[in-house]
Assembly symmetry: C2
């Protein structure tokens, strides 16, 4: 079983219950050692205040969510996306985050050119990588489940993400999320291939049935993913960082008291991760 000190909670897991200040307080009080921060919550709080609170709390920041979203219908919109990523990198540097998590974006409005969207992603990554290197902030490409290829992320396997890392080089790595990748028959081999480019490891569970494509993720243990098996593959690459629980659950966990959600994350982490 994984060391409980490695548990980090992505604040989206209690997004309906907590502001950033409340999440930092509640996670710390429960003995959780890490948090992943969302930029909309960060904006509500203000960067300086967030930096101060994180420093006081001693929480590790397993990621800043999120950069990416590179494709756009025209040059101006793609440049705006790049500019926004540069800000995210600066925020991550200020927070001391382990990485910026990149949800790379899907098809531009009206487009059916998936290969073209993938080229825009590669070009966008290339455009922001120098600034990330200068800032010392690793960029974690998060391959998303193929059901998000159209509207959220056209990078849909770990192999694809690693191909981009191979092409673009230092400063780029991957976020391995069991929800997005558990089905892939090539997963073990690709995790091995990732090696020290693994920058983040995310857990939750795949429910059967799944009633919503976006907001029906399960708590670890409530679904069908063999999380411990995948965690073992990831650990064998030498990854010993935080393990982040990220659950979007509009009809279940977002409706429960925050403390219950946190406690359940801790219990299930010990039982299943």
């Amino acid at each position: 079983m994984a060391d409980p000190a490695r548990l980090s909670i992505n604040q989206a897991t209690t997004r309906e219950q907590h502001s950033l200040a409340q999440a930092i307080a509640a996670y710390s009080q429960a003995g959780v050692r890490g948090i992943s921060i969302w930029r909309d919550k960060l904006a509500d709080c203000g960067l300086d205040e967030a930096v101060r609170m994180i420093g006081d709390s001693g929480l590790g920041v397993s990621g800043l969510c999120r950069g990416g979203m590179f494709p756009g219908a025209d040059t101006a919109s793609r440049q705006a996306n790049i500019d926004d990523n540069l800000v995210a990198i600066d925020e991550a540097a200020a927070l001391g985050a382990d990485c910026v998590v990149l949800v790379c974006g899907g098809l531009p409005d009206g487009s059916k050119d998936l290969a073209g969207a993938r080229e825009m992603i590669r070009d966008g990554l290339g455009a922001i990588l120098p600034h990330a290197r200068d800032a010392g902030v690793p960029l974690a490409i998060e391959p998303l489940h193929p059901m998000y290829a159209a509207d959220r992320c056209a990078i849909n396997t770990l192999g694809q993400a690693l191909d981009l890392c191979d092409q673009l080089g230092e400063g780029l790595g991957v976020a391995v999320d069991v929800y997005h990748l558990w089905w892939d028959p090539d997963l073990e081999a690709q995790i091995r291939r990732a090696g020290e480019r693994t920058l983040a490891f995310h857990v939750c569970d795949w429910l059967v049935p799944t009633t919503d494509l976006l907001l029906d993720r399960g708590m670890m243990g409530d679904g069908v993913i063999d999380i411990r098996q995948i965690r073992d593959w990831v650990d064998r690459t030498g990854y010993d960082g935080l393990i982040e629980v990220e659950i979007f659950s509009a009809e279940n966990w977002w409706k429960r008291p925050g403390d219950e959600v946190i406690r359940t994350c801790q219990e299930r982490f010990e039982e299943t991760v």
Copy 2:
């Protein structure tokens, strides 16, 4: 654009409107040349009557849906699944179907062993293949979208399906469905690899947003799939058979008059396939 004479309609597209007899009559009357038949509808009608009606109609049968569902929690349930596939093969032979479409099955109840389920699928295919060869009925493995890995089909890429074909040999091929495969960055290469093992080609569209994992497929042209591009890749393998429209759409197409659905399939086939 594809020859309109290649249009086949999977009867699931009008499953709420038509019995098998009604579907055969309506499709024929509209000038459609092919149908794919579901076994529940076939059972309602009776095999002998269905064979007679199909013969009288002159419709091609692009597939019998469905065999597969090989995994099971114990030997007895797996054998029952195999036995059911043997019956499906006999039915397909009687109907002169181009293939039995295999939806191979997901995790057995309570299991998280996806690799094990995949072994059960391979073993099940091996068990039914001799009978299929004797009957002269090709078996088409249909890789399903990764969002169905848990509960419907653990074969989730065309590459995986072709690996099984490579292992098990003659009599086995693939059904290429744009809905399940459009996101795959390796799709063009795997279609080329499939070559003459392409036994069926299915079209519909991926809607944005998709509101249900199973029953919200789109009419061609209403979504984001570049269907003509994929059809071109498939045709280059030498495939010149029927092209089947298969749309599960509980809240839209299943609620419209059957004739409107058929006419729309014909129009969109010309415009987008």
